[in-house]
């Protein structure tokens, strides 16, 4: 029989772990960008930063459902999986933002170094000078409270929605069918 067991701890634990992995991957790639020679490859690597952290982040919903199923071994409705996934995704967004703010304290020059690396790379590409101002503006905005709040809001929406979908997939993959638990 399906029961609405508490899921916050599953979402919290998985959200936290995934946020750490995602932030670590993002920082690793960002420092690779800072240390590399200016050029097109650096720009490709920079665009991979967001992609990789997003790809890691979307698995939170699925693993939160798996954790929940391991804890209670009960059948789970798809909608419940979506709620668990959405919550886990929200935690990923919150923790990832907290980690990025914390990193600003650990390495205060990080943002400026990354911006300079990106500007150098952009300047080395013919015809892309117009993008330099956009990069400056983007990084200046990221330093402000409004910029961080906007970034958190977008992350909450994107991570929440994507993890709701992977949460539903988690139910399909990991949750026992009603007959399975009846047999236990």
């Amino acid at each position: 029989m399906e029961q609405n067991n508490p899921f916050i701890s599953s979402a919290l634990i998985v959200g936290f772990i995934i946020a750490i992995i995602s932030s670590a991957a993002s920082l690793f790639l960002s420092y690779s960008v800072i240390g590399s020679e200016p050029g097109t490859s650096t720009m490709i690597m920079m665009s991979a930063v967001g992609l990789v952290s997003c790809l890691i982040g979307i698995f939170a919903g699925m693993f939160a459902v798996r954790h929940h199923v391991k804890m209670f071994n009960q059948p789970l409705a798809m909608g419940r999986g979506a709620v668990i996934g959405l919550t886990a995704g929200a935690f990923v967004a919150i923790f990832a933002t907290a980690i990025s703010l914390l990193w600003m304290l650990i390495d205060p020059a990080f943002t400026d170094k990354l911006m300079e690396a990106m500007v150098r790379s952009m300047e080395s590409i013919p015809g892309a000078e117009a993008q330099v101002d956009a990069i400056y503006e983007q990084f200046q905005s990221a330093k402000t409270f409004a910029g961080q709040a906007k970034s958190l809001g977008i992350n909450l929406l994107v991570m929440g929605a994507l993890n709701a979908i992977t949460g539903i997939l988690g139910v399909k993959f990991f949750a026992p069918k009603p007959a399975d638990t009846d047999a236990l």
Binding site: E2, A77, M78, G79, R80, A82, V83, E137, G160, A161
Partner: protein, 320 residues
Amino acid sequence: MQISDQPHTPLTTNNQPWADRNGFPGWVMGLGWAIGSFALFQIVAGILAVVILISTGRLTLENFNENALFENLDVLFISNSIGQILFLGILTIVITKLSARPGQISGFLRLKSDSATMKNVGLAFILLLAIQPLIYFFSWLNLQFPFSESYLAFESAQLKILENYLTGDHVLLLTLFHIAVVPAFCEEVLFRGYILRNFERSMLPITAIILSGLIFGLFHVRLTQVIPLALLGMLLAWMTIRTGSLWPAIMAHFVNNAGSTLFATYFPEIALDESLKGTMPPLYLVGLSIIVTYFIIQAFQRINAQSDEGATYVQRPESG
């Protein structure tokens, strides 16, 4: 508790909506489709506009620039309307099948009328005219927030292009169709039809009204107008719950958008140039607007007290 237009029909697994059978809470369905429809609308309308521009030779891959859309407002309007009709209108009605019991889509979206509907629609018309100074006041309040110069310049440039379009040789009826008719119907079906109704299944009506209004404000992606739009959304949501019908909200939305278009067409120097300068409207006008709005809201209460259709939908949140 289930929402039903036939409250005495017992619910069985067979006639339960798909969302209920699979344990999807109303707020997940509402929020999910708010995000989904926004993403689909933005992506498809954007792609469609670029395709139209390229196929008509107004844009080539060599001279591609991101401002091309704002320089071709007719194309922007057409692609925007197609996107709204497809995703905010038609697909929302299709998606409603997941949350409504079989054969009760129009009841779920409150697309129905009764003897009081015409009176409610008339009141909605007057209310939206009377509340304009108050909306303008909240627009002014919104502008007091510190926006970056670059963002204000961006919005200002967009308004300038809109002004050029409205003062040019545009066909007014077509413009009204794109700016007033399509959004009034499609956005109401989405926000006050689908999202509000789903939110009501999971939370108290007042919370559903506030949240659906906030989403309505943010959906328009215009930071200088978030407060008035969100408050307008809340008012329309209250009106929909109170009257039990979507038609008054559709009329109110139409009056608001059509009024703005007509005002900007005939008085562009006042309507568009002043909109970003942040001049506070005369307080006596705001006061008068509050008083008239209060009396119209009382009239809504009186008209709908008899059938009290709105109260039928005041529900307790789902347990669990």
